[in-house]
């Protein structure tokens, strides 16, 4: 199969280290299927990033580079998996049955992942205040009571969380 000039170093890296990466992942995850998937996704992610692909030839420690990317792939996998399980658990807790199509479910999970990622790094109370207001629709007075803070603090938390989300949205859009 002809390989374009850009990806040849990656192909060499694949040949030289894919097997090693897979067994490294298997030792870590304890699961050969998962290790195979993760190893594959690691190379796909490098391929999807033109910057990484362009600089592959310069990388001196390919294994350390690969494990760094593999960790990120795994982190994303874990986040998605954890959120999906949390979502199913939350659905089970609803007193009223909630009917959601598979398609809607996928969209909801995607949105939840984005919200979760946006709120990441904010303080516990800040993100709680924001979610209680925006998802649960609670009044500030009730949020203040639940969090044991003043209403003016709730207002500050809201502004802080909103600003944080707006900044991230704009960064992503750039």
């Amino acid at each position: 199969m002809p390989v374009s000039a850009d990806t040849r170093p990656l192909a060499r890296m694949y040949d030289a280290h894919h097997g090693w990466l897979r067994s490294w992942l298997q030792r870590r995850t304890g699961c050969s299927w998962q290790a195979a998937d993760l190893a594959q996704d690691t190379f796909l992610r490098i391929l999807a990033s033109p910057q990484s692909t362009a600089r592959i030839a310069e990388i001196r420690e390919p294994r350390s580079f690969l494990t760094t990317i593999a960790r990120r792939v795994w982190v994303d996998f874990v986040r998605r998996d954890a959120l999906e399980k949390a979502w199913l658990e939350a659905l089970q807790q609803q007193s009223e049955p909630v009917v959601i199509s598979a398609e809607e479910q996928a969209l909801i999970l995607e949105t939840l992942l984005q919200i979760d990622a946006m709120l990441d790094g904010l303080g516990e109370k800040v993100s709680q205040a924001f979610l209680l207001s925006q998802l649960e629709g609670l009044r500030y007075a009730e949020i203040a009571r639940r969090l044991g803070v003043s209403v003016s603090s709730v207002k500050k938390y809201m502004a802080k969380a909103t600003e944080h989300c707006l900044l991230l949205m704009c960064e992503d859009g750039e």
């Binding site: 954890a82 959120l83 979502w87 939350a90 909801i108 207001s133 998802l135 909103t162």
Partner: protein, 335 residues
């Protein structure tokens, strides 16, 4: 670059403040009008407000209550990406649930310890048997949360000490459920075993009684340290220091404290965990070496044993304020 972005950040901040105000139940008509004026004043304001609307749409596109609960459950499991990226700590077991649960806190004793699901007071010890047969014993002054999912069990230890013997099936095989103990410094992963974990001020102390456990410090760049039976380790956020376990680390589960050539100071500190009030020892005798077994459920007897075996006396200011003094107290001679 930063200079160019500066005004935009300011505008976004203003937009966020407006949004926080408009979401409030006591927003006035006057404030709404002011907001309209602000929007009209500058196209950049309108641009920023479009982002706010986009955010609001996104939030409204999910069913509120289950979405809130899902995010809450996820947060409780502590999947903080920044923490996750810091180390390889979540390369654990076959299933991915659980993940990282600690926060970056100066010590384990952060505010959640007050809202923890399980806690014991001083001098109190409690035993829990979990659904898979895992035995969990909380030592005195311990606080933890349990997060159970079908495939995993996560314990977040905020303060104090626990003993764990992982569950076995009736045929004697070890259960497949993944167990993780998270402390302020990292994760402890048992490999079918009995062990203790103690949250100290700046470290986590782990003693293995049977089989082995793995220790993963939060900032250890993914390094995993395996600890075998009879070993004890201190884990900081960055590294693990292993030493042979010199005492029966879990003797407290039987109500005994075993000291082997300890400075008196340490024994007094340990006994202090099991009684209310202040227990101290005079610096002049802090370094006296002491060995023995001391009952933790009856610290009075333990104190008596100390007084019988060492050249010290027990000085009671009140029952809640006890100091161990040298037998020949220089201050006494002056009286």
């Amino acid at each position: 670059m930063d200079n160019l972005r500066q005004p935009r950040v300011e505008v976004l901040r203003s937009a966020a403040r407006w949004y926080a105000l408009l979401c409030s139940e006591d927003v006035t008509e006057r404030q709404r009008q002011d907001h309209s004026l602000w929007l009209d004043a500058n196209p950049a304001h309108q641009q920023a407000w479009q982002q706010v609307e986009k955010l609001r749409e996104q939030l409204q596109s999910v069913p509120g209550t289950p979405a809130f609960e899902a995010l809450r459950i996820k947060q409780l499991q502590g999947q903080s990406r920044r923490t996750v990226l810091r180390g390889l700590a979540l390369f654990v077991g076959g299933t991915a649930v659980g993940g990282l649960a600690w926060r970056q806190a100066p010590s384990g004793n952060w505010v959640d310890s007050w809202t923890a699901g399980h806690r014991t007071g001083r001098g109190e010890r409690r035993e829990l048997t979990l659904s898979d047969g895992t035995r969990l014993v909380l030592n005195a002054a311990t606080a933890l949360d349990l997060v159970e999912t079908p495939g995993s069990l996560m314990i977040r230890l905020y303060e104090g000490e626990i003993f764990i013997r992982t569950g076995k099936r009736t045929d004697g095989s070890v259960t497949s459920r993944e167990l993780q103990i998270h402390t302020a410094q990292g994760i402890v992963l048992p490999l079918g075993t009995a062990f203790t974990v103690r949250q100290l001020d700046t470290d986590t102390q782990v003693s293995v009684i049977e089989d082995s456990v793995e220790l993963i410090p939060v900032q250890g760049n993914g390094k995993i340290r395996q600890l075998e039976a009879g070993q004890q380790a201190r884990m900081s956020a960055k590294e693990v220091t292993v030493s042979p376990s010199t005492v029966q680390a879990h003797s407290w589960t039987e109500g005994m404290l075993v000291a082997v050539d300890w400075p008196l100071e340490r024994l007094v500190e340990e006994l202090g965990r099991y009684r209310s009030g202040i227990l101290r020892c005079d610096t002049a005798i802090a370094g006296l070496r002491v060995s023995g077994t001391f009952p933790v459920d009856d610290t009075e007897r333990a104190l008596q044993a100390i007084a019988n075996g060492l050249p010290v006396r027990i000085q009671r200011v009140t029952d809640f304020w006890v100091t161990i003094k040298p037998l020949a107290d220089p201050e006494m001679k002056n009286i």
